[in-house]
């Protein structure tokens, strides 16, 4: 069996796959049909299906999370109320194996499923990027021709969801590759490696139509490549060649951009991009407004569907929003976690409780320092002790300092002296923090940074400025650095000599090797 598991795609916890829901429905329909051959009235199947869902819980309950939350396209409500009782009786006789729970409300997976976006409007990805993807669907894809799209972006920005929703809208079925765990054995008792299976998937998965599909066209989705590709990029080029020769349906790669991943530079290098005419769409981290909208939509759903377990309040949303920036998935998870209804209160022996501060609240307190004068009126102190603030963020000193660096100018106004003092403190903290041999240095660094910025800002300007997330520049920095180094060497070694034109491809290769060297050094 080819490893194509599109329809039975394993539902990932955080990427709820709407297909599963449909699949359940399909299964239910099939079993209904299978078991229902003795009944005559065929056009009430749908009504029955509803009833199956309603009545099933009492006598058979699945212990898996695979149940769907059937709210998507509302079936026409039971119009024949009179006959429903009668129907129930008939259904009792069916030996229906597939069961769909009616009350999945405290089930995490299904909760996440119902929160999944259904319409393009619900997506957290910006309108413009949606249009780009749509354009690819409508203009770039030619029937029966291979075509490659690479979607990249930070984790949790909604890449996969966007693709799935838009594919649905454009009438495409998404077939997702899942790296198999086991060594497969084919009919000749020969072990099949992951790479072979993957090749098989790329070339053959779309050959045959799915029985259950209601979409006319299909696309292949690859989220995790088999590991052997990440080391050698030649294999990958060969594979792409193969795909371009035999493939018929469009292929989409989704690559998560994180600071350390070299995937983008090695596998999808410029030479590969040109050779296979890949399309590239880079999705940015979710903007605060988009995230707020998503949270608003989700909170009403959650309050509706899981009211006995969760209580989502605006407070909680704000708290969560202040902590997870640009990451829908973790925001949603944290929202569910923090708005869980807690029934019993523990009586703690000590009333004073260490405050767990959100990152953004912490930043806010640092760049908006508040002072109080002490009772004698001469001296003053900070409302929030800098060292307490620093100790809250001990586990993420680097992040905190880069956040302060990104945002300290927001409130400093035109106070030039303050700005210099603040950046002095931050840069000194950066130097302290770079010393990895002593853990104490992180504490000193954080303390210095926090206190320095708070002191530098005498009169914080009160204007509303959203806290921004610092850009991850290390990767781009490495690239630029490598390019600059090449240029420098070229000038240095052969100042006058006319050197032959170096093709873009060679340059790319060269810079990659240098990037790797740098990476090793670090």
């Amino acid at each position: 069996m080819p490893p194509c598991r599109g329809r039975t795609a394993v539902s990932a916890l955080h990427k709820p796959i709407k297909d599963l829901r449909e699949e359940n429905r399909h299964k239910a329909v099939h079993s209904c049909i299978r078991n229902r051959y003795n009944t005559k009235n065929r056009n009430i199947t749908k009504v029955k299906l509803c009833l199956v869902k309603r009545t099933m819980k009492s006598w058979l309950q699945s212990s898996f999370d695979l149940d769907g939350f059937d709210d998507a396209p509302k079936k026409p409500k039971l119009s024949q109320n009179g006959s429903s009782k009668n129907l129930e009786a008939t259904i009792e006789d069916f030996d229906v194996k597939v069961c769909i729970k009616k009350k999945p409300t405290n089930n995490l997976t299904s909760l996440l499923n119902i929160c999944a976006p259904q319409k393009p409007v619900d997506l957290a990805v910006s309108r413009q990027k949606q249009q780009e993807i749509n354009r690819w669907f409508q203009e770039k894809i030619k029937r029966g021709q291979p075509n490659i799209l690479v979607i990249s972006g930070p984790s949790g920005c909604g890449k996969t969801e966007a693709l799935k929703v838009l594919a649905k809208q454009n009438n495409y079925d998404v077939i997702e590759w899942t790296t198999p765990m086991d060594q497969g054995i084919d009919e000749n008792n020969r072990t099949v490696s992951q790479v072979e299976k993957f090749e098989d998937f790329i070339v053959r998965a779309t050959r045959y139509n799915s029985v259950l599909s209601d979409c006319s066209r299909r696309l292949l989705l690859v989220k995790d490549l088999p590991h052997s590709y990440t080391s050698g990029k030649d294999d990958f080029t060969v594979l792409l060649h193969k795909y371009c020769q035999y493939g018929r349906e469009p292929l989409v790669f989704i690559a998560t951009e994180s600071g350390s991943s070299k995937l983008m530079t090695t596998l999808f290098s410029q030479s590969n991009r040109d050779r296979f005419s890949m399309e590239f769409i880079n999705i940015n981290a979710v903007t605060p407004t988009a995230l707020k909208n998503v949270m608003k939509r989700v909170s009403s759903i959650l309050n509706n569907k899981a009211s006995q377990m969760l209580q989502v309040t605006q407070n909680k949303i704000d708290e969560v929003l202040s902590n997870s920036i640009g990451d829908v998935r973790s925001a949603l998870l944290n929202l569910i976690f923090s708005s869980l209804k807690v029934s019993k209160k523990f009586t703690s022996e000590c009333s004073s409780r260490e405050e767990t501060l959100g990152l953004l609240h912490g930043i806010g307190r640092v760049i908006n320092p508040k002072k109080t004068t002490t009772s004698d009126g001469k001296s003053w102190r900070f409302v929030h002790n800098p060292d307490d603030l620093a100790s809250c963020f001990q586990t993420q000193a680097n992040t905190f300092i880069s956040f302060v660096h990104e945002n300290y100018l927001n409130t400093i106004g035109l106070n030039m002296n303050g700005a210099t003092a603040a950046i002095d403190a931050i840069s000194m903290a950066d130097i302290f923090n770079a010393e990895w041999r002593d853990l104490n240095m992180h504490k000193v660094a954080l303390s210095h940074c926090v206190r320095g910025v708070m002191l530098a800002n005498d009169k914080p300007v009160s204007q509303w400025n959203p806290v921004k997330k610092p850009n991850r520049t290390d990767l781009q920095g490495q690239k630029d650095y490598a390019a600059a180094e090449i240029e420098w060497y070229k000038n240095y070694i052969t100042p006058k000599m006319k050197y032959p034109e170096i093709s873009a491809e060679d340059l790319e290769l060269l810079s990659e090797s240098i990037i790797e060297e740098i990476g090793d050094d670090w």
Binding site: D65, L333, K345, F346, D387, C392, Q394, M441, G452, L455
Partner: protein, 353 residues
């Protein structure tokens, strides 16, 4: 024979808080020497966990009903990260705890092969559990996992989300790659307050019948710095070594520069009295304290000094520079002396404004 009985006894009683009720004095005495208190008093119930009540309450709800998300608990050492996770797993899984929990910490090999094989094998394993409950894979000290292993973990997490939950504990959340952070509910634990540590220590003292003085407990709280593990260990060592907990004994055991001396030294610096301050520094140095210990203690006390914020930041700056020098290998008395001098100059310099 008696040996055997004792060993069995210890096994049974490894749990906390049971000892206070009915156990006889004799067994408690014999155990006293054998079990580290940190294990003996490790909380088994959520109610016993000190600090971070918000999170612990939520987790207790999840433990009853199941369906918890994947978790990352980040926080400094000794605040109960591992304890929370173990509690959670024990209550969630009940009798199935042995079968349905895989615990790996930094001492286990956790390279990419282990993630690919051992963790996946466990995730595929079939265990009968009530609906809504999941197998749990505990990855303690997850920040020491290599990038590659974490990358491999990322998909495993998604694929087996139907049957398996991950609970990660780490000190530094920056070392967990972003895709994993994004897939987990992130919980941050703050340091324990001194009051919380003190309450627990007094509780233990009462249960163990320890004789103590107030300043002794204060000293333990100071040396622990919000780290419960350290507090309990220090307490037990002091009790084992001297039988009585007062500040002198505590500092003998923990062997830190006495905070009173350091405070004195800093106050002399604030007055600008270099020679007196140097005397104290010299005496500390002659006692054999390493410059790393000295500098970290000086920093800790500087944080709590009640002085003008502008002076304080300059102090922190100088301490940081000296610390940097020490880490680079210039760990001589001269460096410490120069620190003292610079601190004095800062304190006596007239303000610019």
């Amino acid at each position: 024979m008696t040996d055997l009985v004792e060993v069995m006894d210890v096994d049974q009683e490894a749990g906390p808080s049971t000892s206070s009720t009915t156990t006889t004095k004799a067994t408690t005495k014999s155990k006293k020497m054998n079990v580290p208190w940190i294990e003996k008093y490790r909380p088994q119930k959520f109610e016993d966990i000190v600090g971070n009540e918000d999170t612990v309450e939520r987790l207790s709800v999840f433990a009853e009903h199941g369906n918890a998300p994947n978790l990352i608990i980040a926080g400094p050492p000794g605040v109960g990260k591992t304890t929370t996770i173990l509690c959670f797993a024990r209550i969630l899984l009940g009798p199935a705890f042995k079968d349905a929990v895989l615990e790996l910490n930094a001492s286990n090999e956790r390279g990419i092969d282990v993630v690919r094989n051992k963790i996946k094998m466990f995730a595929q394993k079939k265990v009968n559990l009530p609906p809504g409950k999941h197998k749990i894979i505990i990855l303690d000290e997850a920040d020491s996992m290599t990038d590659g292993a974490q990358q491999a973990l990322r998909r495993t997490m998604e694929i087996y989300s139907q049957t398996t939950r991950f609970a990660l504990a780490c000190n530094n959340s920056e070392r967990i790659i972003e895709p994993i952070q994004s897939r987990c509910a992130m919980v941050r634990y703050g340091k324990l307050t001194d009051a919380q540590v003190l309450a627990k220590i007094m509780d233990v003292c009462r249960k163990e019948n320890v004789s103590f003085t107030d300043d002794g407990l204060e000293a333990i709280v100071f040396t622990a710095q919000g780290d419960m593990r350290q507090a309990l260990n220090n307490l037990q060592s002091t009790v084992n070594g001297f039988g009585h907990v007062n500040s002198e004994n505590v500092f003998k055991v923990c062997d830190e520069p006495h905070p009173l001396l350091v405070t004195n030294m800093l106050e002399l610096c604030l007055k600008g009295d270099v020679s007196q301050a140097y005397q104290i520094l010299k005496s500390l140095w002659d006692l054999g304290y390493s410059p790393e210990d000295l500098i970290s203690n000086i920093f800790r006390i500087t944080k709590n000094l009640d002085i003008d914020e502008h002076i304080k930041i300059d102090f922190v700056y100088e301490i940081g520079l000296t610390n940097l020098e020490i880490v680079r290998g210039n760990s001589s008395l001269l460096q410490m002396n120069s620190l003292i001098c610079r601190l004095c100059r800062i304190a006596t310099e007239p303000k610019d404004d």
